[in-house]
């Protein structure tokens, strides 16, 4: 199998263990691992944004990234992948998608298409053998049709990569669960930031009615009723409060744009699948 990696997946794999030990396992799990030049550039220029949750100094982060030797992952075909652009553009028009060609995801899709066509020996020898790993939900929606109908392979995410590590015996089930839980923690961090911001505001001497609004918001957050939280952006009483605490409004807006609720629920359901022994590790009988 050939793996093409997106920036957000690299960032997830670094974040959850806070070192490069998972990235190193990629070489042991796949025949080839590739990252496009554009993704490397994007990751390099926004590394502190991508790794904002990383618990370390900037110098340590720079060292960590330099130790990854990302440029070693550039494919020989990377510079000619652009030949596919007219085809992918046309595919997008016919399937009603709007592409952003500067995105790393677009470039990774081009490379994946190219890799699926030209192997070392034959045309199509890597057909259905290319996995594009991205944790960007939009990228998945845009490109999955392209991957399937063109026999490229499929699109996977960080959790799939972790499952592959487990199934290949590179990590234990306990580590798999712990790492999936860490991904849940990553996706929940904007929610936690919102909760903590609300709690800090509540500690101040503010109007009684605002206290009640904030209690309601916390209630909704703890009960995972994020849609109700987003609805408050359009409700009169809450709007008055948001005028006094604009940071609160910004955090809620950001959450609604990022689709955080769906992501957290998705990770949780994957976690439950694994913990309920619904991932077969090859042993006969029920895996423990």
């Amino acid at each position: 199998m050939i793996l093409v990696l997106d920036a957000c997946t690299i960032s997830n794999l670094l974040h959850i263990v806070q070192d490069n030990s998972l990235i190193k396992l990629l070489d042991k799990s796949f025949e080839n691992v590739f990252i496009t030049k554009e993704v490397i550039a994007e990751f390099g220029s926004s590394k502190f944004v991508y790794l904002s949750y990383y618990d370390n100094s900037r110098e340590t982060l720079n060292q960590l990234i330099s130790d990854l030797h990302l440029s070693d992952y550039v494919s020989e075909l990377d510079s000619i992948k652009y030949e596919c652009i007219p085809f992918v553009r046309n595919f997008a028009i016919v399937s009603g998608q709007t592409l952003k060609e500067s995105d790393g995801e677009f470039q990774s899709a081009l490379l994946s298409l190219y890799l699926s066509r030209w192997g070392e020996n034959d045309f199509m020898e890597n057909s259905n053998r290319v996995l594009f790993a991205t944790d960007d939900g939009r990228a998945n929606t845009f490109f999955i049709e392209l991957f399937l109908s063109n026999q490229i392979g499929t699109i996977i995410d960080s959790i799939d990569i972790l499952c592959i590590f487990y199934l290949k015996g590179l990590i234990t089930k306990k580590h798999l669960l712990k790492n999936v839980d860490a991904i849940l923690g990553l996706y929940s961090s904007p929610l936690n930031e919102l909760k903590q911001t609300i709690s800090r505001i509540k500690e101040r001497d503010i109007k009684g009615i605002f206290q009640s609004y904030l209690t309601n918001l916390l209630d909704m957050l703890y009960e995972n009723q994020l849609e109700s939280v987003f609805d408050t952006l359009h409700e009169g009483g809450y709007k008055k409060m948001y005028a006094d605490f604009p940071k609160l409004k910004d955090l809620i807006r950001k959450l609604s744009v990022n689709g955080i609720n769906g992501k957290a629920a998705y990770v949780k359901s994957r976690y439950d699948f694994i913990s309920n022994n619904l991932l077969w590790d090859g042993h006969l009988g029920i895996s423990k």
Partner: protein
């Protein structure tokens, strides 16, 4: 606001947890108090250290319970025993949770109190005191450091000639608060400072073990960690570090330490998920949990009428046994609590506080708060179910 209009001395429905001992009162919720008291009693009467998970939804009174049991004299008055009661919040937004925790804990333990407690150790155990500290400390340097507390008051130092009491209180304080400069180490004649998590565990367990030795000075140490669910906001690696620290603390303090972890439930949390959050080693030591359930209607009513007539808020001569919800009417109270959705104590307090204030803003002020009045202003109540 002139609460006297309603024969109240103040607003009984606090919208933030009280902090001072005078303001901290326990109202209603007898079953919950009984469950907590049983844990306290069991820790006072028996030795094994334990972790108790206080488990409940947002606003269910966990912080209030932590404040009540640590900041008032309730434990001493009710159980007749001296205990060390400390409440700290989980360190958050920090890269070194163990150091933050130590600083926060030291703020609560208070250096002067530690000096005083070790003075009591000396008075109680006399010449045996240094040996007792050694026996209760797993780290010889920490043992050496703690023994120096025996001498800071300059009394009876001839009992332990080997310790050397030229140390100033300032140097001990500096060391405790993380100053490990050469000058401080030299003053104390110690080779190392409090640098890693294990030394901090050794220090805290040494203090806790010594002051509860044979339950002579303190019968138990109760450490409440509030907002423990925030651990999920820390990077996974930092979470692991903190839970390992707690596990070591409970392992090295095998007796007389009870750690209460206040944990707010999220929608999909199940008790089993805790083993992932706490790590298996810590979860296996946290078998006891206390549910902070939502009050039912009857419990809510008891809570509200007891609060309205508590001496902190209403003079005894103004209590009317036939009108215990005054200024609310019983029907209006029932109407309110059936319309605010999930009944957390916080929500009850905030809603009743708001309605009370809105009534007092009316001109003229209504003689009592009726169901009709509540209906009229219901659109102004954020928790009102549409």
């Amino acid at each position: 606001m002139d609460f006297e209009n309603y024969k109240l001395t103040n607003n009984p429905f606090r919208i933030s947890p009280s902090n001072t001992a005078e303001e901290l009162v326990w109202i209603g919720m007898d079953k919950l108090k009984e469950k907590l008291n049983q844990r306290i009693q069991s820790s006072i009467a028996t030795s094994p250290s334990r972790i108790v998970i206080n488990w409940g939804r947002y606003g269910s009174g966990k912080t209030h319970a932590a404040n009540y049991y640590t900041k008032t004299n309730f434990i001493h008055d009710n159980f007749g025993k001296k205990t060390k009661n400390i409440k700290v919040n989980l360190p958050r937004s920090t890269k070194d949770p163990v150091q933050s925790f130590l600083r926060s804990l030291m703020g609560q333990l208070n250096f002067e109190n530690i000096v005083e407690d070790f003075g009591l150790v000396k008075t109680e155990f006399k010449a045996e005191a240094p040996r007792i500290i050694e026996a209760n400390t797993t780290d010889s340097i920490i043992g050496l450091f703690l023994k120096k507390f025996l001498g800071v008051d300059g009394v009876q130092n001839s009992l332990f000639p080997e310790i050397g009491f030229e140390n100033s209180k300032d140097a001990l304080r500096d060391y405790l608060y993380g100053d490990i400069t050469k000058a401080t180490l030299k003053k104390l004649n110690l080779p190392l400072g409090l640098e890693d998590d294990e030394q901090i565990v050794n220090l805290l367990s040494g203090i806790f073990n010594t002051i509860t030795h044979q339950k002579k000075i303190y019968s138990a140490v109760f450490l409440w960690i509030d907002e423990f669910e925030d651990i999920e906001s820390l990077p996974k690696i930092t979470q692991d570090r903190f839970t390992t620290f707690l596990r070591q603390l409970i392992d090295k303090t095998p007796n007389n330490l009870t750690i209460f972890l206040n944990f707010t439930l999220k929608g999909f949390d199940a008790f089993e998920d805790l083993s992932i959050i706490l790590g298996e080693a810590l979860a296996s030591r946290a078998k006891i949990h206390i549910d902070f359930d939502e009050p039912n209607e009857e419990e809510s009513l008891i809570y509200i009428r007891n609060l309205l007539n508590h001496p902190n808020f209403r003079k005894p001569e103004f209590i009317n046994d036939n009108d215990l919800y005054y200024p609310y009417q019983e029907a209006s109270i029932k109407f309110i609590i059936s319309n605010i959705g999930r009944k957390s104590l916080r929500k009850i307090n905030e809603t009743l506080s708001l309605i009370l204030e809105l009534a007092l803003l009316e001109n003229p002020i209504p003689p009592s708060i009726t169901k009709e009045f509540v209906e009229k202003i219901s659109s102004e109540i954020p928790s009102w179910k549409k």
